[in-house]
């Protein structure tokens, strides 16, 4: 058993996801209290280059054809063997469509303690989780043995988990991964949108409060006046009022605009996760208790149907003068 903190790197189609860097930053804090090293665990096929920039002390790389694309069962098989053998102090995985599929299975099979939804590591080295829609924080005791932890973004900036120095890489040897019961058939691309919201500087976001598709034109007008683009939270995309290319959130895109104007969005964690890079968040919502007001820079408890047209007009006037 070592005091090392392992971070299972999440990557999709040749790109390392931001959550991996967030976890590396958290691992750095944890390793500070456990006294071990930060070790990135990279599973893939011909994916060594992805290790570049990982803020880890060491990288463990496992290569197998079955790991070319994410498969929950293949990842579980490899990680189970690895953890049983190496027994680190903590293993961090993302509370995501990649990590969450694997973490519980690995922990349960190896009979390891498991804590989820971790946001930060407290001063005493204990994980602090965010639950109940962000309304409750839970500090739990870091158990003995190898602890499996799943992390949510928002507690650490991804930059803190990056490094320009290349860490030493150890290529693991293990028996080839066998036939899997869950296999990838194909990827389905998100609808090719005309815009990539992740690259836009000004975003006008609409949520449930927009009420119906026709009211989108209010948001479009405002976006146009500002020189930005309309995006949406999940309920709007689920209804089909905007394509998935405009979805901001856990299952959509993470965005980092200068301005994010949220109209009728309550601020559910799945949405807020994707806004950690926003410079100025302004929220308009009729409900003064909406969680989004806790993360926004400016807010107004107003009816968007009254405010948005007025705002659009004033911006047009301001730009004209």
């Amino acid at each position: 058993m070592t005091q090392d903190v392992y971070v299972v790197v999440e990557h999709l189609r040749g790109q390392v996801m931001d959550i991996s860097y967030v976890m590396l930053a958290a691992a750095r804090k944890l390793a500070g209290s456990t006294g071990g090293q930060v070790v990135a665990v990279l599973l893939g096929h011909n994916a060594q280059t992805l290790a570049q920039g990982l803020g880890a002390d060491r990288v463990l790389y496992a290569d197998d054809k079955a790991l070319a694309d994410f498969s929950p069962t293949a990842y579980q098989e490899v990680l189970q063997a690895l953890l049983a053998e190496r027994q680190p102090r903590v293993v961090l995985m993302g509370n995501t469509s990649v990590g969450a599929d694997v973490a519980c299975g690995v922990a349960a099979k190896l009979d390891l303690p498991l804590v989820g939804s971790c946001l930060t590591i407290g001063e005493g080295g204990n994980p602090i989780s965010r639950i109940c829609g962000g309304k409750i924080m839970a500090e739990t005791e870091l158990a003995d043995g190898t602890v499996v932890m799943t992390m949510v973004p928002g507690g650490y900036a991804p930059e803190a988990g990056r490094s320009s120095q290349a860490a030493s890489m150890e290529t693991l040897t293990f028996p080839p991964v066998g036939e899997q019961r869950v296999t990838l058939r194909q990827y389905i691309e998100p609808e090719a949108g005309d815009v990539d919201i992740a690259k836009e500087a000004i975003l006008v976001a609409v949520g449930r409060g927009i009420q119906n598709q026709d009211n989108l034109e209010l948001a479009e007008a405002l976006a146009q006046a500002l020189g930005g683009v309309v995006c949406a939270s999940r309920p709007v995309v689920d209804q089909g009022w905007l394509p998935t290319s405009r979805l901001v959130g856990k299952s959509g895109k993470a965005v980092k605009p200068k301005l994010y104007l949220a109209l009728g969005i309550s601020g559910a964690p799945e949405h807020m996760e994707a806004l950690s890079g926003v410079e100025m968040l302004i929220a308009i919502n009729m409900d003064p208790g909406a969680p989004i007001f806790e993360s926004a820079k400016y807010g107004a408890e107003a009816d968007l149907f009254e405010l948005v047209p007025a705002l659009t007009e004033k911006i047009q006037q301001a730009k004209a003068s």
């Binding site: 349960a108 799943t150 990838l184 290319s245 107003a302």
Partner: protein, 254 residues
Amino acid sequence: MNIVVPVKLVPDLVEGLSVDQSGTSLDTAWMRLIISEFDDHAIEQAILLKEAGGGQVVVVAPDVEGVDDVLFTAAAKGADRLVKLDAQLGIGVDNHTLARALAGVIKDMHPDLVMTGVQAHNDLDGSVGPLLAAFLGMPYVGYIAGVSAGDGRIAVRKEYPGGLVAEMEVQTPAVLGIQAAAKPPRYVAVSKVRQAMQTAKIEPAAVGEPDPRGAPKILRLFQPEPAERATMIQGNPEQVAAKLVDVLREAGLV
């Protein structure tokens, strides 16, 4: 196809939450329980599969306040069997205990598919779905937004960030973590639920001793301080709009 849907009831956030005197659990005085949103989608997805290709849907839930209504509503939507775990699993139980209890009951049902919500908002030790899969010895895939069954194969749509979707093939028996059903959960008329209360039976299922091994020990629960709460702009819409334009101008955005 035999589909089992375990569901969890969680605190209804509409009622507000607070921490009790001990500081390590939630105050239940004003708490009301509601079915976890993703579990509701799991029930819907199971019913859709049954409607498309036949089979049986079994809904399993722990015995907590309001569970009967949840089960009868599921029956009114088309669930065939309703199973209630006996009373040792009150609210506040961890997912490891619950998953072990469910595994004990579900393995004897020999399901083809087990579908449950990909997560619940009060999950602190992982989610029930993948834990259950490990205890049942079945493969697990989560973040599913669409399931179809045809010629002995199960195809699922797994959602990744950025709108990317992966179509995956799953060999049964397997556990699926549902993010969204192919259609939003249907409305059930009150009269149908009342009818289900007359005709459907809830079967009790005995579970062994609770086994929380693996779940963390809670040191404290607290409400987050709204660190920098937003500067609220007051006034009528005209005034608010004017102030917002000032803010934007200062930030160089207008």
